[in-house]
């Protein structure tokens, strides 16, 4: 279904999503919004794997499987991250990342 769409277009979309995620990771203050930016990054990488598999190595399945695993890992990581965030909320009463800075010089 994707004849006529060159591979580079997909890659550009995933690049935009990737860098947007990075921007959000660095700029946002709330820990949960940082987590959301990380999910964006992981998602963009997923698209990349799938697209390379489809366009460049259609007889292999690695890309798709890898994406499956990435989704599973992302879910596990989000769960643990949220557990940590809740713990931080209990300790500091805030989930502003600028206040969680005790490991400094």
């Amino acid at each position: 279904m994707t004849e006529g769409i060159p591979i580079s277009h997909f890659l550009i979309v995933s690049a935009i999503m990737f860098f947007t995620g990075i921007y959000g990771f660095i700029v946002r203050r709330n820990l949960i919004t940082i987590l959301m930016s990380i999910e964006l990054i992981l998602n963009s990488v997923n698209i990349n794997f799938v697209v390379f598999n489809k366009y460049l190595y259609p007889e292999h399945l690695e890309g798709q499987f890898f994406s499956l695993f990435i989704i599973a890992i992302a879910a596990a990581e989000a769960a643990v991250a949220i557990a940590i965030i809740i713990n931080i909320y209990r300790r500091f009463s805030t989930i502003n990342v600028e206040n969680v800075n005790e490991m400094k010089h």
């Binding site: 279904m1 994707t2 006529g4 769409i5 591979i7 580079s8 997909f10 890659l11 550009i12 979309v13 935009i16 999503m17 990737f18 860098f19 947007t20 995620g21 921007y23 959000g24 660095i26 700029v27 946002r28 203050r29 709330n30 949960i32 919004t33 987590l35 959301m36 999910e39 964006l40 998602n43 997923n46 698209i47 697209v51 366009y55 460049l56 190595y57 259609p58 007889e59 292999h60 399945l61 798709q64 499987f65 994406s67 499956l68 695993f69 599973a72 890992i73 879910a75 596990a76 989000a78 769960a79 643990v80 949220i82 557990a83 940590i84 809740i86 713990n87 909320y89 209990r90 989930i95």
Partner: protein
């Protein structure tokens, strides 16, 4: 313009705009919802690429699981009506510069590189039946090992999450 192309550009637009809105929006619940839209549009792209199983998994796990988890945690920890402060310029300007540079590097590399498809053009089968068999295949090219590893990881994550979030 074929229908495929229209659909692709539609999905691409949704992904781009909604991802930017996620990171820019001043209300946290709106950011979560924009994330949801991004993930759904990605699933749409997977459907377009004929990876149906993956698209389904994306919708179930990512859009349905992770975003819900995020929303629960938002409700637990934040004042949902509160508007975020705008980030300070000292953060925004260098980040935009770095991101723009990175984007520039990536796009120029993508556009100048000639992607050579491999020799064998025979499509592999990705229906559910074959994926399942491949997952538990212990022979060559089988994915039994990563499958088991993932299961251990999920176990570990479950235990970790319970322990960390425990109230003592």
């Amino acid at each position: 313009m074929t229908n495929d192309q229209i659909m692709f550009y539609l999905f691409a637009a949704i992904i781009s705009i909604c991802s930017v809105m996620t990171v820019v929006s001043r209300r946290i619940l709106r950011a979560a919802v924009f994330l949801l839209f991004v993930l759904i549009a990605t699933a749409g792209m997977y459907f377009m690429l004929e990876y149906f199983f993956l698209a389904g998994v994306q919708l179930m796990l990512y859009a349905g699981g992770i975003v819900v988890l995020i929303i629960f945690s938002i409700l637990l920890t934040s004042h949902i009506n509160q508007k975020f402060q705008l980030p300070s310029w000292r953060k925004v300007v260098p980040t935009i510069a770095a991101v723009a540079l990175g984007l520039f590097l990536c796009i120029t590399t993508i556009l100048h590189y000639t992607f050579k498809p491999s020799a064998g053009m025979e499509q592999a089968k990705h229906n559910l039946h074959d994926i399942g068999l491949k997952l538990l295949d212990t022979g060559a090219n089988g994915y039994a090992l990563p499958f088991e590893a993932i299961s251990i990881l999920l176990l570990a994550a479950m235990i970790a999450a319970s322990v960390i979030a425990k109230k003592n």
